[in-house]
Symmetry: C2
Amino acid sequence: MPQALVRALRGEPQSPPPVWFMRQAGRFLPEYRAIRAKATFEQLLSDSDLAAEVTLQPVRRFPRLDGAIIFSDILVILDALGCGVTIPEGGPRLARTLDQIPLDQPLDERVFEPVQAALRTVKANLPPHVALLGFAGAPWTLLAYGLEGKGSKTWSRAKAFLHAEPAKAQAWLEKLADAAARLLNLHIGAGAQGVQLFDTWAGELDPEDYAAFGLPAVRRTLAQVSGAPRLFFARTGYLPQALEALPCEGLAVPWQVPIAEARARFPRMVLQGNLDPISLLAGKEIATAKARRIVEAMKGHPHIFNLGHGLTPETDPEVLGAVIDAVKGA
Amino acid sequence: MPQALVRALRGEPQSPPPVWFMRQAGRFLPEYRAIRAKATFEQLLSDSDLAAEVTLQPVRRFPRLDGAIIFSDILVILDALGCGVTIPEGGPRLARTLDQIPLDQPLDERVFEPVQAALRTVKANLPPHVALLGFAGAPWTLLAYGLEGKGSKTWSRAKAFLHAEPAKAQAWLEKLADAAARLLNLHIGAGAQGVQLFDTWAGELDPEDYAAFGLPAVRRTLAQVSGAPRLFFARTGYLPQALEALPCEGLAVPWQVPIAEARARFPRMVLQGNLDPISLLAGKEIATAKARRIVEAMKGHPHIFNLGHGLTPETDPEVLGAVIDAVKGA
């Protein structure tokens, strides 16, 4: 029998809903920090045993989790295009921006081999009730990092590029879309039972630019992914109605939007989310009460409990455990 | 005859629409930077002649502007409550956070005297077609700064406080709401013909917390303001429908939301906005095309052209001038 998470991704409401957390393989866990004390982030990305280990850590600590998302980074695609990505504490840095790279640069798929190996290792070691998830960065988010060379407060360089060189921007977005689809298909080939496309900077484009540049590229990626259900996460308080027509099975709902409203506006979609990760810092009582209200609002609709953005390093694992118990007991 | 901006605020559609810009008195202007080379930000706040001068600068440079917003800062209210606010380059710093200040601390209204004097000076020197605007910070935004003591990426301390001490949080929000109303009424008494309440961190609360804590305090402020039309700016991609029922005449629409959608959802409201300030960095052609589409979408509805967030220091005044011309020629 398929796992609860897979059944929910197929559109079958589960009660209680399956649960996993964005960034669950990461900085809030002491056991993750213990590994990071001995290995850099880049070493974790390139060493499939370490990547598998940090993927499995949250599943070991929280046996009621329904999903394990593979440890990786959305920027591996830029690395495979020759950007020379490093991820120090202050955020990602690119040795070369995309405008220094030819449009016909081939994707070096060897970069993806460690994550494929890690997926296979995790798959062989996961408890049977836990589903394995893969992921990739969405084209606009990759283009934004690729043009800025690092994080930005305003993404002004990337945003201006869309208009200054629209044909080139679209060509890059298509290339990045194809690369993201390729990566997601590789994840599926290596055992992922569902994949999530992360458009972390969706909210940095105004709605007309996102409709013109961001969404067509997302559509292009999702349409090429096959073999497992697809989730799309647009991190933005303004969710365009056009998301309902995307070729995917589900939407990850940002915490800024009431999930009941997303249920009304996107009835075709499996919905995932959407607790504010910062509410986990307010203690067990608040976080569990908010989690229960989300579960309540989604009864009868295919729902995967999650956060509405990634876990912060400050999260107390005990509070997260209490939220899982609340979701499972609701 | 009242100015075009005042007529629009009364609900009368103007063609072309009146125009002003959030943060127009500020860092993007060389003449402002020349003054700041000789005076600190705090000196500008406390010297009414300097504050009046930087308020008038954009109106002199752009004679087609319809509004002048008084130079001040949303945090003057926290200063008047004894927080000891300074505003160095890296962002505001408070010497004392609100939890170190008693709830019955009286508002030191002497702090507001320079801005009142500046309003009177500006009023006496404005061209007759330009309307004068006052403003204040909204209660939740003030509480967030007041509890964190400075800007924050997550506002986790302030958000946790709402739930850890809800009664105290509500008491502070009410006190801050009353202080904001008092300040706006003082602005109106000194000549402001319209006022805007800025909830800069509205988007940092999840929708249920904003409904429980943010909005009731906004309502409390707006309901106490009289003598001039009231605009409310909630900086968030998710605009709750409850905004339509606020006791104010208009909404400033953030750039994240299509203004045509705001027009459909908030039919009672005068709408202001909502060009993405970052689109001004993409050059004249892009910025003016986007501006024209906004004007087009708002024809027949009371509309005040503006940005959907404040001007950035990187803005080229020539591009802003081109946008004004485009709005006036559209």
